[in-house]
Subunit: 202 residues, 2 copies
Amino acid sequence: MGLRERKKQATRRALEETAARLTLERGLEHVTVEEIAAEADVSTRTFFNYFTTKEEALLGDVPPTPDEQARRVFAEGGPTGAFVDDLITLLTTSLISPEALAAHREAMHLRKRLMEREPQLVPGMLARFHNVEQEISRAIAQRTGASPEDARPQLVAATAMAVTRQTMKSLHFTEGEDAADMRAVLRDAFRNVGRAYAPSDD
Amino acid sequence: MGLRERKKQATRRALEETAARLTLERGLEHVTVEEIAAEADVSTRTFFNYFTTKEEALLGDVPPTPDEQARRVFAEGGPTGAFVDDLITLLTTSLISPEALAAHREAMHLRKRLMEREPQLVPGMLARFHNVEQEISRAIAQRTGASPEDARPQLVAATAMAVTRQTMKSLHFTEGEDAADMRAVLRDAFRNVGRAYAPSDD
DNA sequence: GTCAATATTTGCATGACGTGCAAGCTTTCT
DNA sequence: AGAAAGCTTGCACGTCATGCAAATATTGAC
């Protein structure tokens, strides 16, 4: 990786970190793009070359875009053929993968704190989940051979993402949690949902 | 209702309608608050006395806040005691009530067109659903006697709202649809979800 | 190493958003 | 009719976000 690329990544990281730090210190309303840029040693204009809005610098790429290969495997009916299991595989290999948990533990914890401190960030976060939801929806439609306008894949995708969102929300991002746990937690969650809406239950 | 109050409502409606019309004509980016205010015959400053952002004028009060009485009945275990049935009752008497369908058919259809034309509005809409979700979550927690920090009510509320959102999305807001249909559609949707996540199914 | 090509950073101008404040106007109540 | 209360308006202000062109930095070929 060349010098240019490294510098760009450094700048991006510096902006993200500065934005997060200042926001936690003073609250989003009391931090201006101008300040963030100044502390990261770039011009205000450069900030907007990296991020189109102030919030974007805070949200980063969470949740991560689903892995393309995992998506394709799922769409084609794999890896095991059991729907819920494979769905969990898709979710854990893309959204809450081992790598994500290991490498970005710090960053994800930071984002969680940011959400709690600044609820204004929630809509943006939900919008990102919504984008992923639509990808998942397409994958489910492909896997089940449903037509694009069928409502069922959308329904399943929406509820699956709701489960995922709640699960991520309940993580503590401390050392103890690993990806193996994730599978179990998700499986439990899906089971709970299935039970709650299954006939004859209260 | 006094003259003052009537005038206020008229102004609010005029602003909402103008905002929607201009946005559908030209796209959100090419409509300024100044123009909306001018066409509604008030000052720009007055626009901001009614709405804090341009988007607020477009989204209105959708989805409507859950009816307080329905919420309480549900929280106390009513009206029938069957969880899913009562949840559907709560949703249909508040979010997609007969009145809402009858009276606001036009407005809801308009909002649907706005969403399709301007995806930028989606985050705001999702945020509103999220607020309702949290109310529903509290109601479920009360009903089931769960402690506030229990994750299950949140999980059920999140999936229930996902179902509701998808259901509202699939409505056409034409004459044919009434509230009785709604119950059936929601019941079907919940059943589908239950089946999708129940053990041993693909 | 030099130099042209390419990519990034920066400053400047501009328009729109959104808020606080105080003055003016309208409705309400007595 | 007139005081009290509430709403509208204009103005000033700071911030966000984008387009454009000049300046600066990196790359790759020679």
